[in-house]
Symmetry: C4
Subunit: 367 residues, 4 copies
């Protein structure tokens, strides 16, 4: 059967058949009516590829440079919480796969493996740490310090979640973190007040109790003041916010609607990307996640101005299939598909993907 | 089972399974081929939300001011006739739920509870009275006087129903008001000539016999002359009519296509809203009903310029589920969803929802 | 069961269940992949109605004037061949229904009742005669003379059928006119060379043998020379042809794609209408057929500039149901729906339907 | 049963039911998610035909001139590999059908019949030879020389396949050329290093080993230097590449996305056509393949500026049905459909199809 899993959707189908309902729904679901969840994917098909031919593509190189570091493929892993629901090795399996593929792994604050575990299992990895700013700033400070100490290369601050979105499936399921798992980054730190195993029907209200809903742009300065790590803002969807971010001197913006999990009705990530590239593309690095299922999705995002693309759920499907090996399979599939996309569109390197190569479908509807 | 009803659609599904066919069809159906009925809902997804981030949303306030009165949430209840088909307490249950939630209840002329009953059961409510102008103006005058006496705060004149629309389901069902119910506002008033229990296969022709099809704009002046209550015109769909209404000095316009029940083929309410806001948004208050099923629908209507949003059928589904409690559940769901929408888009108050925050999908299809 | 047939689609469903496959397919089918057949109907939903309110609609009048004659409703009957396959009384039943409703009946050249039979059964009818120009001009001349003698009021020249379209269903069915029926207009006229009962698998090639494929615009002058009857050109879909027609002084243009039966891929009739109205609307009367299923479709066509709308297949479904009575039911349904549409959009008469009242959906997608 | 196969889709359905899965999938499938495969066809319906009437169409002529040679119909056969999987006579059957119909047959390099076999079986055919440029230029040179000697009339260089696309169905099936077949053009030529029977799970990697991925525009000059045959570039999808091609003096461009088999997400061929026609339509001949299923598709491509249209899969379905006879049936169906399209739109000849006769659907959505 493994043999017949030849694309991300195959792994998705497999995961849908093997994961427990509650974990699957937590991973799979989006906010509200889930139209954005669906739209994130479909919106890629609204952009068309204009391949060029007769260019020397005999030596292809998919590597790129992100925040000054070389990554082997422009596809990294987005932060996702509680990966041990998908596989016993959870985040540790994912990060090793990323390390082996030479790409970025972003550890979620709400991971089921700790900063230190992850650093230890993938010491040569390009590891980033996803951060929420908690009401108790000391909690955040400690996390930042631990990430720095553990050799993490960047902080990814989630800015689209002053509260956690309404996901109906989780509410129906009264979703709980399974009792044998814990929020490993808070384990043993009684001072945070965070119960590392609690979750239950009130995961939302629980999480919401600790997030600082009063967070403002000025708090970015506070964060800049306590770390030397580059800061990536994840969850920006408008040119207006992108300009503020760039003015504040953040290192990068990750265009994202949180996988459709925060609020239903936003544009797809790929739709939101162009206005942000146009506004600040020359001042900060811009990345994208949301709906990426195929190497041509990656290609389109790069053509539209993203420097790096991140995937979330596909990694979970790989993890559910066969842990580290499954995640590598997913990344390899995307890499191969992207490689083919480059070759067939006349690009030998990532830089060769120019913006004329991807156009909205309206381009072809002109009178 | 109640536990698993977490959104309006859940209550709708429930109501579809428990209501008698005839009542369900009366509530559910729209005019003609029912494309507008469907379109009213779907059209909301044609508008996209552009969330802003890193704004202090720790103290949120969903209240607003409508016709000079504070309402706790910008979601009120539209006039709907014959609510006792959904629950024995009918309009009385609905109005108490609205009162408890601190929002507007609009009593239909064709209610199965009278003006006085409603006022008595919800004395602290923000109660509005929906009005038709009958051929016999004395009937209308009496209704207005009774509404004033009963402490109603506004008159909502339905202007899109010189006759009642062709609803095929009702024709097929030969819809009749169940024999144990009556049009309570006309009960005991023999002078109106209105048979308070009649309906039957000829509900349409019956109703049409009493409505004044010769009604014109000048009759608004007549109504203004017999009441001090603010007048809301319900059912305006064009900028042209909005301008006339504003010139006549009405207090507000409720943009509505009567839930798709009058004529098939109109724009969705949410589509019609912008041209009306543009034409008279600075001169009269503008509200909307039609297809609102989710807090993000409310959010979109507010961003596009509505000051208040009204829901109809969702209230009936709540009523069918558990009377007053069910209606409160519906309003609470919408309130919670709207609260989340505010928080996640960077709005602490209703006023913070600015017009750049919602755009038609075409915004993202630009070349 | 008859009771539950409340709209044209109900009659259509009924006809689909009772008509013999071969006749049904002949009536129902369109050319090629039948996308235009489907599109003709759906395209109406691309136009939205903008109702006006508070206008006196207490006295409504659906009558209009066509070619100088009063018709009671702006809905007539398009030419359709072989109506006796649907009901033994065929064209005679249809024309009597039209006469009773005070509207136009257009008799097909390829009818199964003759010019004289139709005139005799509906002597007070507004009867028009549909014409092809045959290679043998004498055949055409005789038909014209007979139509004039029989009191027909106009000639409808089909200009979109130099050959008969490829209808796959008929080819599959090897469609034949049932043996007990005949092309009544050619019966007994041996000189035409037309076998009035032949048809069979080669109906197309048979028909094509007699049509004059060399017909050109100058031949309109020939036709004008042999008759005093007003000439309506049926099947024009472009502004360019409309201008030529107007320059030649024809009385009217019937915008039509022949019910999607000639070539797949044309615009829907309702889509083609506006450019023709714009080009020659002030010089000739313009009518429309194609996909009209509902009174709101009629309304939309009128708003977009048609003076009269014709229906085809709905009449056949009525005929299949109950002959003359079924056709009256169909026309009555459309009349009632149109009457409601007028009332609810603030129109007392056909003239009140102004062009701002119907807009393409793009109107509501503006940024 | 044969009787009921009246359109290309009928033959397709038949082939789907009789071909072995592996061969069917190879023929049928497209790259990646196959959205372009589907879109190629559907995109034709986005263009609408504007028929003209009352033009003399009594003498119709479907012939045209391509590269200076008369072809009887503007529909030729695209290169497709391994046609003997569909019928024992494979390419030989196809080329004879093309010869008999007086149109172009393009032999694939990867055919299961050799250049010489094809020339011998269809000596009066207008035969073209499809070419890849191999790493070993001598292989290519020999093929060119053989094609010239065998009387082929043009070389069709595939420029959209530096590597062969990712077709998931083939990967799942571990597609192999059946053992009794061989790549006939390389048979007996040990010097090429090409194993004429190998294929197996690694067909892609196998093919990719021999294609020259370093091919560039300058190599066109090399090809021009070794042959006097006109060169057609197949697989151009952008105006930019079309201009380069024209500047290099190629004879023609075949607008194609390789039947959706190279990379998913390109425009449909019919969408890409207009920008290429606009850019170089006056300097080189332009052809199209991709999704053509119906005579009206051919018509649309011609109206949009293609001089010739090629079909691929339909020929395979005909071949699978009944070899040479089946292919003739397919070409005859398309010819008949095109003939009807000409007649009904007022065109007596191919030249009469003017560009105003086909418009994108947006033409009809204007406000």
């Amino acid at each position: 059967m493994g043999e017949s899993l030849v694309c991300v959707k195959d792994f998705e189908r497999h995961a849908f058949s093997v994961l427990p309902r509650s974990a699957l729904d937590f991973y799979r679901s989006g906010a509200g009516a889930e139209t954005t969840l669906v739209h994130n994917r479909r919106a890629f098909s609204k952009f068309k590829i204009r391949p060029r031919c007769l260019r020397n593509v005999s030596r292809r190189d998919l590597s790129t440079t992100v925040l000054g570091q070389k990554v082997e493929i422009p596809v990294g892993i987005s932060p996702m919480s509680m990966q041990r629901m998908a596989h016993p090795e959870g985040e540790c399996a994912s990060v090793r796969a990323a390390q082996e593929m030479g790409t970025i792994y972003t550890l979620s604050s709400l991971a089921t493996a700790s900063i230190e575990e992850v650093a230890e299992t993938a010491p040569r990895g390009i590891n980033w740490f996803q951060l929420y700013i908690f009401k108790d700033r000391e909690v955040t400070k400690k996390l930042v310090a631990r990430a720095e100490n553990a050799g993490f290369k960047a902080l990814v601050l989630t800015v689209d979640a002053p509260i956690s979105g309404l996901r109906l499936a989780d509410i129906r399921n009264k979703f709980v973190l399974p009792p044998h798992l814990k929020f490993a980054n808070f384990s043993g730190d009684k001072s945070t007040g965070i119960n590392t195993t609690e979750s239950g029907s009130g995961l939302n209200s629980y999480v919401n109790r600790f997030y600082d809903q009063s967070l403002e742009w000025k708090d970015i300065r506070w964060l800049q003041g306590i770390t030397k790590l580059p800061i990536v803002l994840k969850g920006i969807l408008t040119a207006e916010d992108a300009v503020i971010a760039a003015d504040l001197g953040v290192a990068a913006i990750l265009v994202s609607n949180h996988g459709g999990r925060q609020i239903d009705g936003t544009p797809a990530s790929i739709e939101a990307l162009p206005e942000i590239v146009k506004a600040v593309g020359d001042r900060v690095e811009i990345y994208l996640d949301g709906g990426v299922t195929d190497g041509t999705d990656v290609y389109k995002a790069l053509a539209l101005g993203a420097k790096m693309v991140f995937v979330g759920r596909p990694v979970l499907w790989g993890l559910a299939h066969s842990g580290e090996d499954g995640v590598k399979k997913i990344l390899t599939i995307l890499k191969t598909e992207l490689d083919y996309a480059l070759a067939i569109t006349g690009c030998a390197t990532i830089k060769d993907i120019s913006k004329e190569m991807v156009v909205p479908e309206e381009y072809y509807n002109k009178l």
